[in-house]
């Protein structure tokens, strides 16, 4: 889809030099404007009312301005350096960067950023007059920068991903990127003010767009392909460090733990949806089955089963019960597929929820006290480690939720391991074959039914584990936590994030859970926006934010150009090794 534009190619060809200069000026002025007062009073965002002392958020703006300035300058420097023969090695790298594309997207992003900031100031302080002159300077600079970038002729596509870099550079880059992400996330989470949170989110979005458009993203993804294990370990290390950035506050850790439970379940669901290609609209029932199992066998005074084995055993039983349910729910796949299968799973999910509410001693045996559920589930105590107590490590107190966070991280690691290993195995190949052409797969000797059941049972088992922990984190289990909307929410995390990838689903889960938690006003409209998001996403980018290459192919089967592009960039596991 082409958006009609007044910046035609002829106009760009004529004025691209002016464009670069305007972009450069816009970026520099924008960066400098961070030192000016943007707001009239200190009450908005993180106090932008000082002259000469940028607030933290203004520093983010400064960073954007500098990025734009650098992008615009490089276009001017490159021909000059090429002619003079200055720093040929650096120039080689520079030629692979999509400076122009980066500049263009940063131009839009800068305007979006200042727009959000000014809007937040106007809302929080009340009225346009509360914006100080510095704010208007920044806005003007952003507009100039945007016009400038629009005037630059379209740049070459970046080719950084073909850059050969020494291993340590790649590892360092991965470490730094993840560290940056950790700090940004910790910083964003510590914002009490909703406006600041949105501003940081906008900044993160602009930064991500810049990284993607300039080719840095391609480079990062190519090095993370090469250093897959490093990436995974670094990601877990970063997540492990997260509680230590909270200075003992458990408020964010509560959210983080919930996000982690949600994300782990979503990755489990991704085995069913992303790998095996089966739509499961009742997946929340498996989490629920795990939670109810753990609750009924817990030390709670309301637990209905007298047997109270150690938690490890409970967790395994929870997983097995979920897996059994998974086998039952999966058994119709022998005969049903597609939309009908989705409805069958939805119906199973509802049956689970309603049955649980009915097991109250009146309409059925009293197993879970019906809709009031099982409350007062005590904290875990594993090998003498009390999950309810505060433990101090290296001077930093880690509270109850931090403890559960670590436990969930461990379970997450298991789930990710299961997911990736299964994906790159004989079983994973079988799943792809089934997704591609079920009849042909069967005729080639692939055990279609068995593999589908395996996906259902395996995914359910993992969700059961997560559910067992969830029961103790929430301290109570009620049927209304496991409604259809939650299943839809999980599915949305998979769809938005990217079917068939771990990173995508984690990103989707984090965004879906975190944003409403941090934004009160979004919380009210949460479901509305979420519904809209699903519709828009299916139209614009059905494969999700970080998709599996093969999924892209499946959703865009008529885009020849894209297919050839993907074939060229096939990751190593697709290609013949010789």
């Amino acid at each position: 889809m082409r958006i009609p534009t007044i910046f035609t190619l002829e106009l760009q060809k004529r004025h691209h030099r002016i464009g670069r200069l305007l972009a450069l000026a816009g970026g520099l002025v924008f960066a400098v404007s961070a030192y000016l007062p943007w707001a009239y009073a200190s009450g908005a965002l993180d106090d932008m009312s000082y002259l000469g002392g940028p607030s933290a958020l203004q520093f983010l703006g400064l960073a954007l301005g500098l990025i734009l300035a650098i992008c615009a300058t490089m276009g001017l420097i490159e021909p000059w350096a090429g002619a003079k023969g200055v720093a040929p090695a650096l120039l080689k790298v520079s030629k692979r960067v999509g400076w122009t594309r980066g500049a263009k997207v940063t131009g839009i992003g800068m305007l979006a950023y200042i727009g959000v900031v000014l809007l937040a100031i106007v809302i929080e302080l009340g009225g346009l007059v509360t914006v100080e002159w510095g704010g208007w300077v920044a806005l003007a600079a952003a507009v100039v920068g945007l016009i400038g970038t629009r005037l630059i002729t379209p740049g070459r596509p970046p080719s950084l991903e073909r850059l050969r870099t020494p291993g340590w550079v790649g590892i360092l880059a991965i470490a730094l990127t993840l560290l940056g992400a950790l700090l940004l996330a910790a910083y964003a989470l510590n914002q009490v003010d909703g406006g600041s949170f949105v501003v940081i989110l906008t900044f993160a979005g602009v930064l991500a767009a810049f990284i993607l458009r300039s080719g840095l993203g391609g480079w990062l993804s190519s090095i993370s392909q090469r250093h897959r294990t490093v990436l995974v370990f670094a990601a877990f290390a970063v997540a492990f460090l997260f509680p230590f950035t909270q200075n003992g506050s458990d408020a964010n850790m509560s959210i983080a733990t919930q996000v982690l439970i949600f994300a782990a379940t979503a990755v489990g669901l991704n085995i069913v949806v992303g790998l095996a290609g089966l739509l499961d609209l009742g997946y929340i029932a498996f989490l629920g089955a795990g939670a109810f199992t753990a609750a009924t066998m817990s030390q709670s005074a309301f637990a209905t089963i007298g047997w109270k084995p150690p938690f490890i055993v409970v967790m395994l039983i929870a997983g097995l019960i979920s897996a059994t349910l998974g086998l039952i729910i999966g058994s119709p796949t022998l005969r049903v597929s597609g939309d009908y299968l989705a409805i069958v799973t939805l119906a199973f999910g509802e049956i689970f929820r309603i049955s649980m509410s009915n097991l109250d001693g009146r309409d059925g045996p009293d197993l879970v006290h019906g809709s009031s559920g099982i409350p007062a589930i005590p904290n875990l105590n594993l090998f003498g480690f009390d999950f309810g107590a505060v433990h101090t490590v290296a001077g930093i107190p880690l509270g109850r939720f931090s403890n559960y966070f670590f436990l969930m991280l461990l379970i997450m690691a298991v789930i990710v391991l299961v997911f990736t290993r299964l994906n790159h195995s004989r079983i994973g190949r079988g799943w792809v074959a089934i997704r591609e052409d079920e009849k042909a797969a069967e005729a080639m000797g692939v055990n279609v039914f068995g593999l589908k059941l395996l996906a259902f049972a395996g995914g359910a088992f993992l969700a059961g584990l997560a559910g067992a922990v969830k029961a103790h984190v929430d301290q109570s289990v009620t049927p209304d936590q496991y409604i259809f909307l939650e299943s839809a929410f999980l599915l949305a995390a998979v769809v938005l994030g990217g079917m068939g990838t771990v990173m995508g689903v984690i990103l989707g889960a984090v965004l879906l859970k975190l944003v409403p938690e941090k934004l009160r006003f979004v919380n009210e409209y949460r479901m509305l926006l979420f519904g809209l998001l699903l519709v828009v996403m299916m139209r614009v980018r059905p494969e999700g934010m970080i998709p599996n290459q093969r999924r892209v192919l499946e959703f865009h089967s008529d885009d020849e150009e894209l297919i050839d592009e993907i074939e060229e960039d096939l990751p190593y596991e697709f290609a013949e090794e010789s």
Binding site: V344, A347, L534
Partner: protein, 316 residues
């Protein structure tokens, strides 16, 4: 015996409600092989549209509940429902016509949630409209509500007259529309072979819109019937009713209009009977939805072609 007849009639009227919604699933499926899972929400919107019409009328009439309100409410509900369905087709489904099956299904879930939330959040914001975050009482139109009528010893809830009558009228209208009008015949042609139909000069896009609109209009009638029958409506009512109507559509063989009507009636009677006569602890109203879902699963697994349909052979 009276109790049995009571339940039978109750089941038939419930079934008529399901049938009116089920037609929407079946007509759309027949034309584009798409299961519009957001159709339950169209039914809900229809009910709210009718309620809105009555409230607006009330500013002039002072809240009259005379019988002539009903046709106006029906029209109001239909307009809103048809508009919703047509917009949904145009902006959400049409761009996905050649996409993998997963895309329209997820879109439908998105639309469902969006429409529910839209009504929940914004219906009460309109001046003079009640808050929709909980169930809203539906206007008690004269004659169709009030004390049950005694027909030969059986007490008949008056709302039942409306829904059964509506089904008969709508069914007759559909038969006439599909078999006797040019548009109806074009619909038949498109359902047989869309590509050839296009070559024959039929505007397939328009036919698809018509299919959505017809389904929505009937769903709006069902919405009004639901309001009269239960006395209140709420933003969540489309989910369960939609699923059960979908069951009815599959039961009758999806794509088959008469099948949807038969399927709806069957499902309604079975549900009423099961609720009333299922013995022991697992019977009664708190388990009835479980049994409805069990029935849905059994049908999808063992008779996906419906009660009367023939098995379709797929070639290698």
């Amino acid at each position: 015996m009276t109790f049995f007849l009571d339940q039978l009639l109750n089941g038939i009227s419930l079934g008529a409600l399901y049938a009116l919604i089920a037609v929407g699933y079946t007509v759309v499926y027949g034309i584009v092989q798409l299961i519009n899972f957001a159709h339950g929400e169209v039914f809900m919107i229809g009910a709210f549209g009718a309620l809105s019409t009555w409230i607006v009328l009330g500013t002039v009439t002072g809240g009259s509940t005379a019988w002539w309100n009903l046709p106006l409410m029906l029209v109001g509900g239909m307009v809103v429902a048809v508009l919703t369905a047509v917009l949904m087709e145009r902006f959400a489904y049409r761009p996905l016509r050649n996409a993998p099956r997963l895309a329209p299904l997820i879109t439908a879930i998105g639309i469902s949630i969006f429409l529910q939330e839209f009504v929940r959040l914004f219906f009460g914001e309109i001046p003079g409209f009640p808050d929709a975050k909980a169930a809203i009482p539906f206007p008690q139109i004269d004659f169709f509500t009030g004390d049950p009528v005694n027909v030969g010893g059986v007490l008949v809830h008056r709302g039942n007259f409306f829904v059964i009558g509506a089904l008969i009228v709508c069914w007759a209208f559909l038969w006439w529309f599909v078999n006797r009008t040019a548009t109806g015949r074009a619909m038949q042609a498109v359902s047989q072979d869309p590509d050839t139909s296009r070559l024959m000069g039929i505007d397939v896009d328009r036919i698809i819109v018509v299919a959505f609109a017809v389904g929505a209009a009937l769903a709006a009638v069902a919405g009004v019937a639901h309001g009269l029958r239960y006395g209140n409506i709420d933003f969540r009512m489309g989910f369960l009713a939609g699923l059960k109507a979908f069951t009815a559509a599959v039961l009758g063989g999806i794509g088959n209009i008469n099948g949807a009507v038969v399927g709806g009636l069957t499902l309604g009677v079975v549900e009423a009977m099961a609720t009333a006569f299922m013995p022991g602890q697992f019977g009664g109203p708190s388990w009835k939805d479980v049994w409805a879902f069990v029935l849905l699963i059994l049908i999808l697994v063992f008779r996906p072609q419906g009660l009367v349909g023939a098995k379709v052979v797929d070639r290698a």
